[in-house]
Assembly symmetry: C2
Amino acid sequence: MNIIDRLYKSIEEKGVVCLGLDTSIEYVPEYIMETSKNEVDAIFNFNKEIIDETLDVAACYKVQIAYYEALGLKGLDAYKRTLEYLREKNAIIIADIKRGDIAATAKMYAKAHFEGDFEADFITLSPYMGMDSIEPYLPYMKDGKKGVFSLVRTSNPGANDIEFLDTTKGHKVYHEVGDRLCNIGNDYLGESGYSQIGGVLGCTHKEEAKELRERFKNMFFLIPGYGAQGGRAEDVAMYLNNGNGGVVNSSRKILLAYKEGNGNERVGYYARLEAIRMRDEIREAVSNKF
Amino acid sequence: MNIIDRLYKSIEEKGVVCLGLDTSIEYVPEYIMETSKNEVDAIFNFNKEIIDETLDVAACYKVQIAYYEALGLKGLDAYKRTLEYLREKNAIIIADIKRGDIAATAKMYAKAHFEGDFEADFITLSPYMGMDSIEPYLPYMKDGKKGVFSLVRTSNPGANDIEFLDTTKGHKVYHEVGDRLCNIGNDYLGESGYSQIGGVLGCTHKEEAKELRERFKNMFFLIPGYGAQGGRAEDVAMYLNNGNGGVVNSSRKILLAYKEGNGNERVGYYARLEAIRMRDEIREAVSNKF
């Protein structure tokens, strides 16, 4: 099955939660540290407990490589083990790496993240250098196995600096990026009607959501900014087509849910509760929309 | 000494060559493979031979992480060892990682590449998400120790897609990026007058070089596209202020110079010859300019 259809189906079954494993060593509670050999092992065990308890309520997992890279080679070993474990569980993996390069270099990134130690199903990309920074990943998409999410329109204040610039074409920079991605994406459509070339669209500008959902028709949305970063369920609902066609990331709020619980235990259990709460809140907002 | 002044001084002494260690395993000749324990070791030994023979003719080294990442954890071990060796030799390191993220994630990247296993002097960044994708690196620049090169205007065909878009401000997207970087860069100036916030400007559009050199006054240029990618010395000269204020990268043409030599030996020796040839060719073009 095409990877984007697999994601679509996973959302139908499990809801729109993309569980972000942006795991910092500071998040790991005492009881996991105590039963782990070292810091790297502790990070993996933290992730494992969360994965084990959320497989049926998370549509996919987004692993933020920066958190692992910050610990050097050892951290990347925890990253590798986390990805291995997710593959073993047949979970869908988005590697949040935001690579943006061209030609031979981009081919190397494709090899790095679509094969071998760091193999993921989707990777995130940055489009600044243009569409030839997307092309080197296409050979991995031909057979439907892999996909990408390119940055389109983010919700940080700095998005005004470049993404929101008005161009003389009568639209903003991010419109141009999205239009171009949709255009290439037409050659990589799944049966769901969505493309293996997805886009990252931050969820805090509700007013534009409807326009974007209509404009970028074939684009599957990866939506960050929910929860800890302030996005609300009713904003998110506007980015979805009847509750699908997008996946909503939450990281810290799920990873640290145990702190809202009984303080320092059962990381997985509280992560599960928060994932379910979030899933249902968005489901509710989607029904209210119609 | 401020890192940008160190680079400036290094160029005064050694010329403008930035030696790109984009080392693919396929580049490594038989004689190095034979004396190496494994592929990773071979990559490191290849780099080491080139570094040893070029320390006095390369202003700095740019290490392209993608090539190492493609080999997974083992490849990143070769990356780490290469950086360690460069630090040991007091060489200036540009880690070509083109990261572009914000907030906590960008802080993690800063930690990853300005400290620990992968510590470099400069890193490359992608500015698509805006200036708050630059800010998390600033704390490492306060004391003058570290610097960045952000993508501004590249020379790949895809640069037309986004970087070259005309904005309603009367200039192109890359002008806006460069102007904003120069503005922030004013707070991070070395005694040379250049900023620790540099820019990546591809060298194949000679006609714009003079305009850019004048417009982005405090910006130190990292100039790719020379040699294997088609850029010429007379183009490059236009980006320099009397032979400084920019560093010119060459990777494959230097790494594979041994193939133009006697075929399959003395990687370091032929790399040195090519670095010298390139340095002198650009020096010559700079003198002709004045």
